[in-house]
Subunit: 359 residues, 4 copies
């Protein structure tokens, strides 16, 4: 009810503040007998880390995950899987000057007003550091989906006004991973890096768009009318820090198309039903149709700038604020594993929910 | 779990198929002592009806709502409010030819695959007729929000490639209502009607964009980290038939802005904290900040065309399909009360949830 | 949240007041493709009816159930199944004198205090008439469980101070049904009838105990640690009007036994694991163990008496109250189908929940 | 869904196995601004510990609780409160001989069957060690209820066949605490100790009954029809290890009373509405009526005996089993803080839920 859980049958509840002692969560509903792929989970954690790239130079953490329960002899037991990551590299003094200040476009003001109390250190609960719990649980979910052949792959399709020219091309995972900004188009990736360097020098920040593909999703996932698969994906994605928009299939562009352009005709291919096109983005009536699921997510630029901004404080005084310490220029490349995690959590939950539709 | 409920404290569960005996729902959690505004509810139902406009000429229903429980002497009693609308004008024979057919971009195929059985008459549960239950419950929710000064107003900002030039202008409710297509810009409204007439003659269909404003929302609504106010709004809107995208505040445009352009500076106005701009769309960190909440929703064109399309049937044969009976050219104007209903349901639920944050 | 739903995957939400227009509910999560056994459902409704017996002479209703959705060609479609029963035989005038009065041991006073408004006619939502929705949904659940060989059978083991001597005997369904008070022991049944006749003449009322057996429950149902099978059964039973106690297996008697007397030893029977005794009542650690599930439920006597009782009214005046109209002497025999319904709802829900434990 | 959460608005999710690295939980929905009473929490933990009494000589743990989040400068912030207790004194070798064995009346067999895998060390998740998370969260809940004047007090009313003669007497907290077995009647307490000593010498075990009183509960808590206050209390209590029965008010005895004996007459006392008697146990129609809430809970004897019992193993062989290591004779006195915790969790949850009934 208080909003820190997601999922119905594969349910994640997270906890933790940026500068508290730990971030973590409990997964309730992980099927029993699943071998835990620690390497896969650690790779996802590494993908989320600051990495001294043009986009990211912020706080570095060892980010070692400790699993506390629900695993016996490396297999899930069906009981809750609790895990935590200690916060070690916390420089609370970097935030002392923000104790009474409300940073523009941060959650400082709304948390203060809602709760009447606020852990101001590093954004507290509203910090993107919270997402490490999502990445860990999502990696576990994704490793389970992989056993059923389902794969999830996100990439950066825009940073600022630089975009991939052909978003629908089938990029390989290798092309994505080899880009410092996780943009699989080599030419675009270079331009993004140039833009990032320029904007960093200005003390300014950038946003962008992440595109995500889900392959081999079985037909039938999604629970109409409210828990449509794309509705739950939208909620999961919109719950990520800094996300301002979600679209799937031909998305906002659909609103400009005629029915005869938009509709995907059904065809017979190799004696099986298929589709001529995939403007639907793999979901019809809220239920997966077996085609590739495809969606885009818009991220706003990072709110903390390395240059002065006007704001106010608790005492209703106008002040000037400027970022101190370690901050990224653009969070979008680091958000790739978060998007993949939220997709995996949503999908596995619906995979399990679909098991009771027929008996 | 099976997806037919929305909301936590103000919870709506709906039922009904297009050509079944009735559509309806149960509202559980309506606060006690609320005077029911039947006129307001009936107006919303009327707004959703087909109205012989350029956009809509489809099936007409009396749509009389019967309340079955939870109301005593015209006031809510705190017990569940059940309601239903009988389906009377059902021409099942219009759908007999679709018994075995899968219509392109409809839910026919996925329902068949998921459930192994399908009420094919008029789209069954996947029909937009289901939304009448949302409109009724949403109207009740909106009438409660109005008592607290909160108002919701949606309008059509695009149909096909015709868009309002100034989307952020403060249109009056009268300007919206006086347009046949619910587009408050007179010039744009005319162009939309021309386009609709033209496309109707082609037997084709159109989509569009609805924009929605929420005024006077109190500060503090929204439950991070997963049930952020905009995440729940996104889910609610994406659950409406034919919706392909959602964005709030500066939305997808944010991804192209620099932090210094995007950030809303806090200011002191009349001794109170306010904001210089509202790119955030009234929500920060998932919690309403007291500014206007603003979002856009993209609708794809209606899937049923009055001209032949290729498809397949249950017997894996390729067939040609063409709409029979009564169908709209564009559903977007009729979706206005549905959008307002989903916004009201989401907002009232969070309004109630926020009551237990401080004691 | 407002308490009118039960179940997670097979979820029932009910509505309706004693003298409102209808009682009914929505079942969300009924698996698709189930043939509806209307005869079975109607038999259960009949079992719940007042029947001019020694125990029951109260209001008679035709109690015809109308299914509104979720069924197509007599099979469940996987979409919500809504149903209602009209209240026809409502003599609201019998309750006019109670408008301002709080009847002893009824919910009048607490509903007034909680909600600030109350439908006083016939007890409103607090009336046992509400249970007809449980019986209908429970009958559907039970008919599904029967397909898997699971059977549920409740009987009256006590009325007032008259009890069956051998509660653990395996009574046949026929023995139960042939008793006017649903007590399968012929001698005891006769004594109960005598007691009922005597107490009715006094204008007084009686309670009793219902015992319930579940046979062929598969091993593995129940979700520790909070949703133990017996914990969910307890909640389901305690939610029935007038229930004051629940025990399973050897129940309260267990508290007086030594471990060596209580423990059920595991044995090998026909090469399969079994148990020597069943003090556990078929559930170990909250999970069904394959043995017979057995529990008892205590009902208090009916609160409405046909003789004067002291009470108070809304105006804080002391008054005298006496039942008018039609009231039972003892509700226990009529509660048999309600107990069976709540058992079926609980069991089917856990049956579905157990499907996602292993994948 | 997987059963490890309880509560709707004040929601506890627990994790941990007896011999895993830690036991703990997340509280989601704790109101903001609550000062944490660490002393009160630690006292409750101490009450749950083995204490070298006649009843208990089992495994001793330091049981230090670490709070990981949701608290800032000693106050709750409205974000999730995570906590854990490390398992330090784990002698897994005591359980090595049980790897393949199913102990009588333990959950070994059902966990194996349900999950296909089992952490056999110390009972794994089914161990009563899990309840330490309940005690911590419940202590926090109880400390919040105390701010509103609500108090909870449980005591031992029976061990084996030794019972308090006058269960309805108003015992002081001091009388309870001064008894080694938490039985406030001095004479009965002595007899219980004698019985425990005798049964311990036999290598056998005992159960008993805990009675619990809630004072100053406000009128209006409880959400009919399914989430009646006593139904949720029943579920909470039945979810505690070894509990076999629950009754409230006059409980099972009600089934033997006439309506005229059972009914509590309403009266005017000091110009306020009150009740002549309290057979209802403080709850009418599922809603608290302002009177003392009173209930009894039956515990079966501990399943592990210090003498041989027959059983079977994974290989379907008949074996003999005897407890090794450290085990209590009777868990009932140590269960007092667990009962109080479950009562506090249930009550605070309903206290918060009741806040949205009227607006």
């Amino acid at each position: 009810m208080a909003g820190n859980s997601i999922g119905q049958l594969f349910k994640l509840t997270t906890f933790g503040e940026s500068h508290g002692s730990a971030i973590g969560g409990i997964i309730d509903g992980c099927p029993a007998g699943i071998e835990i792929d620690y390497q896969f989970i650690n790779n996802k954690i590494a993908n989320r880390k600051a990495n001294d790239s043009a986009a990211s130079t912020s706080r570095k953490e060892p980010d070692e995950v400790e699993f506390l329960s629900g695993i016996f002899e490396n297999k899930s037991t069906g009981t809750p899987i609790a895990f935590l990551v200690r916060n070690t590299n916390t420089k609370s003094e970097d935030y002392e000057h923000l104790k009474d200040a409300f940073r523009p476009s941060h959650a400082d003001y709304t948390y203060s007003q809602k709760y009447g109390i606020r852990d101001y250190r590093g954004g507290g609960r509203a910090s993107a550091r919270e997402t490490i719990a999502r990445v860990i649980a999502g990696a576990l979910a994704e490793s389970i989906l992989k056993k059923f052949g389902i794969s999830i792959s996100a990439f950066v399709s825009s940073i600022g006004n630089i975009s991939i020219p052909e978003i629908n091309k089938n990029f390989s995972q290798n092309e994505i991973d080899s880009s410092e900004v996780k943009c699989p188009d080599l030419e675009t990736s270079k331009k993004m890096l140039e833009l990032l360097t320029k904007v960093k020098a200005e003390g300014d920040t950038l946003g962008g768009i992440i595109s995500c593909r889900i392959l081999n999703c079985p037909i039938g996932l999604g629970e109409p009318v409210f828990d449509k698969l794309h509705a739950d994906l939208a909620k999961a994605m919109m719950s990520i820090n800094a996300v301002k928009g979600f679209e799937y299939g031909s998305g906002f562009m659909s609103s400009k198309m005629k029915g005869s352009e938009m509709n995907d005709e059904l065809i017979i291919e190799n004696n099986k039903i298929g589709f001529n096109t995939n403007n639907s983005g793999g979901i019809l009536g809220g239920i997966s149709n077996g085609e590739e699921i495809f969606f885009n997510i818009a991220f706003k630029p990072i709110s903390t700038l390395m240059k002065p901004q006007k704001s106010v404080n608790l005492q209703n005084e106008e002040i000037s604020i400027e970022g101190k310490g370690r901050h990224d220029v653009c969070a979008v490349p680091r958000a790739i594993p978060i998007v993949e995690a939220m997709a995996a959590l949503t999908l596995l939950d619906h995979f399990l929910r679909n098991k009771s539709v027929k008996i």
